[in-house]
């Protein structure tokens, strides 16, 4: 099939050589990386800006001693009247004044924070926590409870999820799995649409330009269709591979850009047990236990097979319309519906990967590329049994052969029909007659 090769090469080269392809391919990972880097930068630098808070403790809630927490440096101010102190606190280097009036411990009230700028909700709740702790301590003393004893009694544990069978258990993280599941499902959903539409526009272009008849006098319509589908699929695959490589390389730069990151991660890792590690460390830890090799492998399989299945249908629609993009939109509805349905099932499967709906969706060929990709991050051989995976892949290959055969017949007739748009009824006839 030398001619498919010639067509494939043209389809591939004309698209890859375009400037928009280059921009998309290079910019997307850099954008994602930049976003990620920004989050990390904020996470690291968050604690640098301290605010000085003057505390006028008229209830002696803090017994003259207060620990600084988070972004706040607390200083107890003694022997000052509120009204006069408010005139001069800024000159003394304080950002705000926390005023605690003489309190009834059973019914505290009137605690006020004075500042020039609006205080954020997180900062407010942090300060509230500090005051609440102080009040609780006072109450405990009043009730003859030793605060130190109580803190020893209190328990704060976190569960370590491990997934597996028999003797083999691996550490897993349901949040991370769900995150990767969503990402994989959405990525396959978007790419299927983008590349499916690209095939449809390509077919329409050939029909509208009237080059279709010139070409089908040299090659069979089926060869033209397959050459186009495979060529555009190869463009998508190239894009993925560049993305994966770029992300991998960029990720190596992360410690170089943020030298403090390695340090802070190390310090978080060596924190005393019992304390929960930082969120960033948790993500890094969780990602370590994902089998990315296998996930990427299945992603590429489901992308290729799912793409081939839908692309041929998009090609059939492209061949049936003439001129008008709006006509195309009407006719694509029956194709886009199962994709959207798959997306809906995927959002459920990403959080509940073993539900009946998720299993059905991951086996049914029209939805399986998207739904199965949302289940795979939860673990192959465990959450997704091998038999389901095998069956799903088999069904998908069978589905793609069916749609390609069907689409080939519609395409053959449609590509040479000029003048009017074909209805689905007519396309059905083209597919099953002769």
């Amino acid at each position: 099939m030398n001619k498919i090769g010639v067509i494939l090469r043209r389809e591939y080269m004309t698209r890859v050589a375009k400037r928009s392809f280059l921009i998309m391919t290079i910019m997307v990972p850099i954008l994602i990386f930049g976003f990620y880097a920004a989050i990390v930068a904020v996470a690291i630098s968050g604690s640098s800006e301290k605010q000085n808070v003057a505390v006028l403790d008229n209830a002696s809630l803090f017994n003259g001693k207060i620990d600084s927490t988070g972004n706040f440096n607390f200083t107890i101010i003694k022997d000052q009247i509120l009204d006069t102190f408010l005139q001069k606190y800024q000159q003394k280097g304080y950002g705000s004044v926390l005023y605690i009036p003489p309190l009834d411990l059973n019914n505290p009230g009137g605690i006020t924070l004075y500042s020039e700028l609006q205080i954020g909700p997180v900062a407010q709740s942090n300060i509230e926590k500090v005051v609440n702790n102080a009040i609780e301590n006072k109450r405990m003393v009043a009730a003859n409870i030793d605060p130190e004893k109580l803190s020893k009694i209190k328990s704060d544990i976190s569960i370590i999820p491990k997934i597996g069978k028999g003797k083999e258990f691996k550490k897993g993280s349901s949040e991370i799995a769900a995150g990767v599941a969503y990402a994989a499902g959405i990525l396959i959903y978007i790419t299927m649409f983008i590349y499916g539409m690209m095939v449809m526009r390509g077919v329409m272009e050939e029909k509208i330009n009237r080059i279709a008849e010139v070409i089908v006098s040299s090659v069979k319509p089926f060869q033209l269709m397959m050459g186009k589908i495979i060529g555009i699929g190869a463009v998508g695959l190239t894009q993925f591979i560049i993305w994966i490589v770029l992300m991998f390389v960029l990720q190596l730069f992360l410690p170089v850009l943020f030298p403090s990151l390695g340090h802070s991660m190390a310090s978080q890792a060596t924190q005393t047990p019992g304390q929960s590690p930082g969120a960033l460390a948790a993500i890094t830890e969780g990602l370590k236990y994902m089998n990315f090799g296998l996930i990427i492998f299945f992603f590429i399989f489901y992308f290729i097979a799912g793409y081939l299945m839908y692309a041929s249908l998009f090609a059939a629609v492209g061949s049936a319309v003439s001129e008008d993009m709006q006509e195309a939109q009407q006719l694509t509805l029956p194709i886009t519906m199962p994709i959207v349905l798959a997306f809906v099932i995927m959002t459920k499967a990403a959080t509940d990967p073993s539900s009946g709906l998720a299993i059905f969706g991951s086996l049914f060929p029209l939805t399986s590329p998207i739904v199965m990709m949302a289940r795979i991050p939860y673990g192959i051989g465990t959450t997704v049994p091998w038999w389901q995976l095998g069956l799903s892949m088999l069904f998908l290959i069978f589905g793609f052969i069916c749609t390609t055969w069907l689409a080939g017949k519609i395409y053959r007739t449609g590509i040479l029909m000029y003048g009017k748009k074909a209805s689905w009824k007519e396309m059905w006839k083209w597919a099953f007659r002769s």
């Binding site: 001619k3 010639v6 067509i7 008849e213 010139v214 006098s217 090659v219």
Partner: protein, 310 residues
């Protein structure tokens, strides 16, 4: 030796007998006119010959062997009426690409394309895009692409539409050239004067059937109406003669129709007997256009849709 033989070709669509039992043959090196009103089945017939459609019935013999749509298409160059090229692709790349689809290797295709571009004075077009070309330039390019791979059979559907006389002649000369080199050419058009000028042999289709087949000269003979034009030295007075009647008279020029059973010599001897000086005497043959209209007229020009039970 025939380049192409078509025997009893049929193609029925759901509502039309597009091609209904058509046979003809095409000699090597001949230029063949495929005529017919709109919707006569020309395009369907051509699509079967180019392997785009499979016939329902009948046989196509290409270069002595049964037509094999997969391999024989490399020997055919087809310029459809509905033609076009990729708008965004460089012209040179486009020519090479389409030649490769016809089975040429990349290097061969580049070499041939360059030769033809030089021949047609289109070297500077190589890196341009179709968008930059005028309609006529596009037409010229399309012709080059059609014949680039040196096909044995060239099918041209309305090749001159949109071309100025200079470029028309350029392509016409090239058509003669190709036929001299042994390529057979099928030429489909509505422009009868071009057919008369270029073609050796014609067939006329109407409503899917072949209604006329022959050489241009032969067809004209077949449809002649025994009309002659005579120029005389002096305008005759009244003419009473049983061998002919006057169809039209302008001063000293007469158009006469010879009655059945008489010969041109009877006309001449009448005027010689009248002592009238004869300046010229010439047979008037019908133009293809006249024949076309005569044959097709009366049948409804637009085909009606009808259910077919084949």
């Amino acid at each position: 030796m025939n380049m192409l033989e078509v025997k009893g070709l049929k193609k029925y669509f759901a509502t039309q007998k597009a091609v209904d039992d058509i046979s003809f043959s095409l000699e090597k090196g001949s230029i063949f006119g495929l005529l017919g009103p709109n919707g006569a089945g020309k395009t369907t017939l051509i699509r079967m010959i180019t392997g785009i459609f499979y016939p329902d019935e009948g046989e196509i013999i290409f270069d002595g062997k049964p037509f094999d749509p997969v391999n024989d298409v490399t020997g055919i160059g087809y310029m459809p009426e509905e033609r076009g090229l990729y708008k965004k692709m460089k012209i040179g790349d486009q020519a090479v690409y389409l030649a490769q689809l016809k089975g040429l290797s990349q290097s061969e295709a580049v070499k041939k394309a360059k030769e033809w571009f030089i021949k047609f004075g289109m070297q500077s077009w190589w890196n341009k895009k179709i968008e930059d070309l005028s309609k006529g330039m596009g037409q010229k390019l399309q012709f080059v692409i059609t014949v680039l791979h040196e096909p044995k059979l060239i099918i041209l559907d309305e090749p001159f539409s949109g071309l100025d006389p200079v470029n028309s002649n350029l392509i016409k000369d090239e058509i003669y050239n190709l036929s001299k080199k042994g390529s057979s050419i099928i030429f489909s058009t509505h422009r009868m004067e071009q057919v008369e000028e270029i073609c050796d042999h014609i067939i006329l289709l109407n409503k899917g059937k072949k209604i006329l087949d022959g050489t241009v000269g032969g067809v004209k003979q077949q449809f002649k109406e025994n009309l002659f034009s005579i120029s005389l030295e002096v305008a005759p007075a009244t003419i009473a003669e049983e061998s002919f009647e006057i169809i039209h008279q302008t001063d000293k020029r007469l158009i006469v129709k010879i009655k059945p059973g008489f010969a041109p010599n009877d006309v001449l001897s009448y005027f010689i007997g009248q002592k009238t000086g004869i300046l010229s005497f010439q047979e008037i043959l019908p133009s293809l256009s006249d024949i076309f209209i005569k044959l097709v007229e009366g049948t409804p020009l637009t085909r009606q849709f009808q259910p077919i039970t084949a």
